[in-house]
Amino acid sequence: MTLLEVDDLHTHFISRDIDNRVRVAKALNGVSFSLEAGRILGIVGETGAGKSLTAQSVVGLLRPPAKIVGGSVRFEGRELTTMAPDALNRLRGHEIAMVVQNPRTSLDPLTRVGDQLVRLHQVHSDAAPAASRQRALEMMQAVGIPDPQSRARAWPHELSGGMAQRVLLAMALMNAPKLLIADEPTTGLDVTVQAQILDLLRDLVARFDMATTIITHDLGVVAHFCDDIAVMFAGSIVESGPVRDVFAHPAHPYTRNLIGATPERFRVGGARLLGGQPPDLYNLPDGCAFRARCGFATDLCRTPVPRTHVSADHVALCHFAGQLDAAPDAEAQA
């Protein structure tokens, strides 16, 4: 069942510089995706591609000068972009939960971690404090925190990075959310700890049947912990589909480039990569934004780009989606 439906979302940064000129950065340009219960979507892309901004737009956590200028976000059929701030607030932390990067800075340093969990539960439910406390201990247990009784009395600064991330996960789970958005949940953690957290996250998604999206720049995380992948470039999802399909047959040149740059595919001195500047969001070109870096680009790419179905649920935003392997190109020979 589709829980979250994001359709043609546009978010712009509108500001004025010191010379009083209006500047508009087109940060999201028609983002569409949907999430289903029990499935994990991995959103990948380079810095500035709009990954985190997508999450913030969806849950209504944009701060000026960022502003949604078009499109819709429907959660269980309810439109979120036009929802009143306090109604949205009730939804967040209750039915929609978020886990962010930098676990340490996301915890209140002056409150014991157990009390933070209880407080979050109390805000969103009528449960007795004792019941909330019980649930907090259960959730800490669920995220694999050893000896929850004593850890609940710990202060945030006493936790290691991995433990703090577990506490944030427990917080996210307190109100049994239907939708979990994890923004770079393991960035900055060591690989051995990252493995622990991701294993846990996947178990929890299956156990609580949540719809989940993991935002990451690490293709390894997507390859092994996500069901679906969405690749972002310059504020658009340029390719999306089941993880195995996309990795095996990337249809968009940018995805090919991204996968070609991974340690598994990339050989020093071997492949030719399409490096280059990320596009200027203040001055996006017409047509395909990847055009300048693309080895396949033709004049056709100056025209609006169609959404091309490679297979039933594998979609790419490219004129030549699905035809790249036939195209003569230096990259194809590598």
Binding site: A195, I259, T262, G275
Partner: protein, 328 residues
């Protein structure tokens, strides 16, 4: 193999915390790097890998041990006499956004080591700066801009141009690609490999990312709590890792390809504090195959059949250590 550019023996770095307490960041490290060779230094946070790089370049003072650079003992050389040596030992830092003086033009940043170490007229220096910029594939139109106008990848190219400006014999690279995007990262590695080929500079490549290290390194050293637990040829270490920590590290690494299965040996717990190091083998608190003896005896470096050296008491028993399940 030629004489090593750098030989480090028994190197230790302790940071005093007062009241006879120390952070034991680097513990008895031995390593050597030959001209044109790249040694990959892998470790998690708190393994002391960045400290090690800085001690080797005398950016931090060594506590114990010996650093032999280019045939000269530089361990306790006075600061004033280290400075001219910096012409031959340069460093590239992790975060290119903060590693460059934001108020200087790119031209002056790249030209700075030349100005400091090479006796050149201004026009000569400018020529060399442009040559360097082109060498790192940086358009010369950026030369008159300041760092805030460049992207992360371009800035890291500037840092590399700085590092190679005086044709150094050793370059220490501290996580040079970890803050960069994937496609940019590959280009930087490509550039480093070319430069190594051309200049025959020795490189110490520090990283927490096994995949990156594998792409560029001839040899790899694995650091855990400031100690090299395993060191050897890159292929051997990846194909037949000898130390249980190396094995766990390799299995925790997620290949960016869903078709490659991951055999998971997830380590329990987290790295102990470097203030109170565990007795015996430093890895025994997290080691899935630790036995009673590991709590007491400090393992010596042993050479395994595949050629690398590892510090584990259970290596003499043979076979893949993590595959064995037996009561401790």
């Amino acid at each position: 193999m030629n004489d090593p550019v750098l030989t480090v023996t028994g190197l230790c770095k302790r940071f005093p915390l007062g009241r006879k307490r120390f952070v034991n960041a680097v513990n008895h490290v031995d390593l050597a790097i030959a001209p044109g060779e790249t040694l990959g230094m892998v470790g998690e946070s708190g393994s002391g890998k960045s400290t090690l790089g800085r001690v080797i370049l005398r950016l931090l003072e060594p506590t114990e041990g010996r650093i032999l650079f280019d045939g000269q003992d530089i361990t306790h050389l006075p600061k004033g006499r280290v400075r001219p040596l910096r012409r031959n030992m340069q460093m590239v830092f992790q975060d290119p956004w903060s590693a460059l003086n934001p108020r200087m033009r790119i031209r002056d940043l790249i030209g700075e080591p030349v100005r400091l170490h090479m006796d050149m007229a201004r026009s000569e220096r400018d020529d060399r700066t442009e040559l360097l910029a082109r060498r790192v594939n940086l358009s010369t139109e950026f030369l008159n801009r300041t760092p805030s106008n460049l992207s992360g990848g371009q800035l890291q190219r500037v840092c590399i141009a700085r590092a190679i400006a005086t044709d150094p014999k050793l370059i220490v690279l501290d996580e040079p690609t970890s803050s960069l995007d994937l496609s940019v990262r590959a280009g930087i590695l490509e550039l480093l490999a070319e430069i190594r080929e051309e200049t025959k500079a020795a490189m110490l490549f520090i990283s927490h990312d096994l995949g990156t290290v594998r792409m560029i390194s001839d040899r790899i050293a694995v650091l855990y709590l400031g100690e090299i637990v395993e060191q050897g040829r890159a292929e051997a270490l990846f194909e037949t890792p000898a130390h249980p920590y190396t094995q766990a590290l390799l299995s925790a690494h997620l290949p960016s390809d869903p078709a490659i299965p991951v055999a998971r040996h997830v380590l329990e717990g987290e790295v102990p504090s470097p203030i109170a190091l565990p007795a015996g083998c430093k890895f025994h608190t997290r080691c899935p195959v630790a036995i009673e003896r590991c709590r007491r005896d400090v393992p010596a470096a042993l050479t395994v059949p595949s050629g690398q050296q590892a510090r584990c008491l259970r290596i003499p028993e043979g076979g893949n250590i993590l595959e064995r399940k037996e009561p401790a």
